[in-house]
């Protein structure tokens, strides 16, 4: 972070306290997601150590920390995308509605249906139109849906893209701008009605205007789902999240240094390393 962008704890705490608090646990969509003592390895390399983190239903949790501290690996263990890397291994439990997603006999496709994911780079399917992209999940997962037009509109409205694309739903997904493409990808992940949405630096390739739109979208979505977002942008974490977890890899595997309500992490962090990081003194 450069000097010009440097932020003080008080200014971030100010942003964070503007975020209206919700009582966690009262949302209708499941009882949230919980990671218990999660470790991750790539080959012999221990990259993530003993992460226990509770994502209450209807909250937004931001994962912050320097590059290479295991944030992305962690969220990929949550929806079992971690196992696509041949050398990957893990330990611990990830509980969705109280059931371990790694339990033997679990249908992994159903897990990924309930825990959606938005990637760092917008990745609309190139062979599909805007409308087809939004409804792609229904086709891919072979879900029955009676009124597709309603769902299409609902998802695009919730992703904050409806007004911009309603007249050209048959246009190519690639004809949109980067920010619009990312909101299209969010709309696409909403169409299968996930309980949890994982976002891996969804705004890192976008301009500030598009970032703002997506942040608004995230705040609206948090009314009805649990969101976990990896971000390198402190202000973004402060603006949109209820809870913030700070990850750090200091030579060894990545660990979670501190987790707490976002306003506290940015105003009264308990750990000196967290304070150094959120004030931009390193990282």
């Amino acid at each position: 972070m450069t000097m010009a962008e440097q932020v003080t704890p008080s200014s971030l705490a100010g942003i964070a306290s503007n975020r209206s608090r919700k009582t966690p646990g009262t949302m209708p969509l499941g009882t949230g997601l919980e990671a218990r003592n999660v470790h991750a390895w790539f080959g012999k390399n221990h990259v993530l150590s003993d992460i226990s983190l509770d994502f209450a239903a209807g909250t937004v949790t931001a994962l912050i920390g320097p590059s290479g501290c295991g944030k992305s690996t962690f969220i990929r263990t949550l929806n079992r995308m971690h196992e696509f890397i041949p050398t990957a291994a893990m330990a611990g439990e990830v509980l969705l509605d109280g059931k371990d997603v790694y339990a033997p006999g679990t249908d992994v496709t159903k897990i990924r249906l309930k825990i959606g994911m938005v990637f760092q780079k917008p990745n609309p399917f190139p062979s599909m139109s805007i409308g087809e992209n939004v409804l792609a999940g229904l086709k891919l997962a072979q879900l029955k849906q009676s009124n597709k037009d309603d769902l299409l509109e609902e998802c695009l409205v919730r992703a904050g893209l409806w007004n911009e694309v309603k007249d050209r739903l048959d246009a190519h997904g690639g004809s949109l701008s980067g920010g619009q493409q990312q909101r299209l990808c969010i709309a696409r992940s909403l169409a299968v009605r996930p309980q949890v949405l994982l976002m891996d630096e969804p705004c890192s390739a976008l301009d500030p205007g598009s970032t703002l739109r997506i942040e608004e979208t995230i705040r609206e979505l948090s009314e009805s789902m649990t969101i976990v977002i990896v971000t390198h942008n402190m202000q973004q974490a402060a603006r949109i999240s209820d809870y913030t977890a700070f990850f750090l890899a200091d030579g060894g595997p990545g660990v979670m240094v501190e987790v707490g309500p976002t306003s506290e992490i940015f105003s009264r962090p308990k750990d000196q390393r967290t304070e150094n990081y959120v004030t931009g003194r390193f990282g």
Binding site: H39, H46, M90, A91, T109
Partner: protein, 348 residues
């Protein structure tokens, strides 16, 4: 302040447990037993019948097992997965069968002298402990070497012209290279014969054979190298140019090294194209029976030529000799590929 936490053992919980594998093992058992039953009690018979029965049973039982565990969609997934696996096995059968036949039949004709003698004092119908194919091994290696010396630089330069310089006539050149890859191999031999040998006073020689082989190898190398160079992201070229490099320096120090393993693949495919060619050598090398290490003078033997000669002789000894030569040719080609792969992987 850091407390050491006991680190659990790395696990792969996504791997199927033995319990989860049970239906799959049951399915395998049904396939084996069912195949024998179908062969015994129905009209199916022979290897083809058994394979068909086993394939259909595998698709049915494995998708059935998936259905019992995870429902209809998992069943479809397993059915398609098994179908693809069956297809891969069908594609592998001819390859494995050819390799197996060559190995079994070829090994009978091998003995130490096979690699140290030539056929100058033996005829193809002599007993197997007389004569050998040293002349053909040397000939084939020289033919491949000279064909490579000619077509690898030309092919890669052509590819660089098409992808980096994109100069005038690129489309025409690309079209001609494509057309050239369709030239029947015997035409390549005839062309060299009529252009460089017939009526010129020059006789057959290894170099003439290499020229004919180059005609076949050049388009393969050029086209594959072009595909590989097109895969190099233009960001890399721009990054080189943005450092103030000339195009030549960028291509030589950034683009070509980045494409190195692909370019080696292009060379391998080119060698594979020509290593077993016989037709272009008929009118160009003359196919001698004596060791001749001078590619520019005198007839030169080669393994495909020796195989051809031995096979048309038709006796038991000559057939065994031909199979042994085929085995040697296969081993030489595989050794070339292996070496090239190793060279390509090494990081500089």
């Amino acid at each position: 302040m850091t407390t050491t936490i006991p680190v659990p053992k790395p696990a792969k919980p996504w791997r199927a447990t033995p319990k989860a594998m049970a239906p799959t093992f049951a399915a395998a058992l049904i396939v084996i037993v069912g195949t024998f039953l179908l062969i015994d009690y129905t009209g199916l018979s022979g290897k083809l019948g058994a394979f068909t029965a086993a394939s259909i049973l595998a698709i049915l039982t494995l998708s059935g097992a998936a259905f019992l565990q995870r429902g209809v969609q998992a069943a479809k997934n397993a059915a398609v997965g098994t179908f693809v696996a069956v297809g891969a096995i069908i594609a592998m059968i001819p390859v494995v069968s050819i390799l197996g036949t060559v190995l079994v039949r070829g090994i009978k004709g091998l003995y130490v002298g096979f690699f140290t003698n030539d056929m100058s004092l033996a005829s193809v119908n002599d007993p197997l402990d007389k004569g050998g194919i040293l002349h053909a091994i040397i000939g084939t290696l020289l033919l491949i070497l000279f064909a490579m010396l000619i077509s690898v630089p030309l092919g890669i330069l052509t590819a660089l012209y098409l992808t980096e310089i994109k100069g005038p006539g690129s489309r025409l050149i690309r079209f001609l290279v494509q057309a050239m890859s369709g030239v029947p191999s015997i035409v390549a031999g005839l062309f060299i014969y009529s252009a460089f040998i017939s009526g010129t006073g020059r006789g057959f020689s290894g170099f003439m054979g290499s020229l004919a082989l180059s005609i076949l190898m050049l388009p393969t190398v050029a086209r594959t190298a072009e595909e590989v160079l097109l895969l190099i992201p233009s960001d890399l070229r721009e990054a080189g140019l943005a450092l103030g490099a000339t195009q030549w320096r960028t291509v030589a120090m950034v683009v070509v090294p980045a494409a190195k393993s692909g370019l080696i693949t292009a060379v391998i495919l080119g060698v594979a194209r020509i290593a077993g060619e016989t037709a272009p050598l008929l009118f160009t090398t003359g196919g001698g029976d004596t060791v001749n290490a001078n590619p520019f003078d005198g007839v030169m033997g080669s393994i495909p030529f020796a195989i051809w000669k031995a096979l048309i002789a038709g006796s038991e000894e000559s057939n065994a000799r031909a199979w042994a030569s085929i085995l040697v040719l296969l081993v030489i080609v595989l050794a070339l590929f292996f070496t090239a792969r190793r060279l390509g992987k090494r990081r500089v």
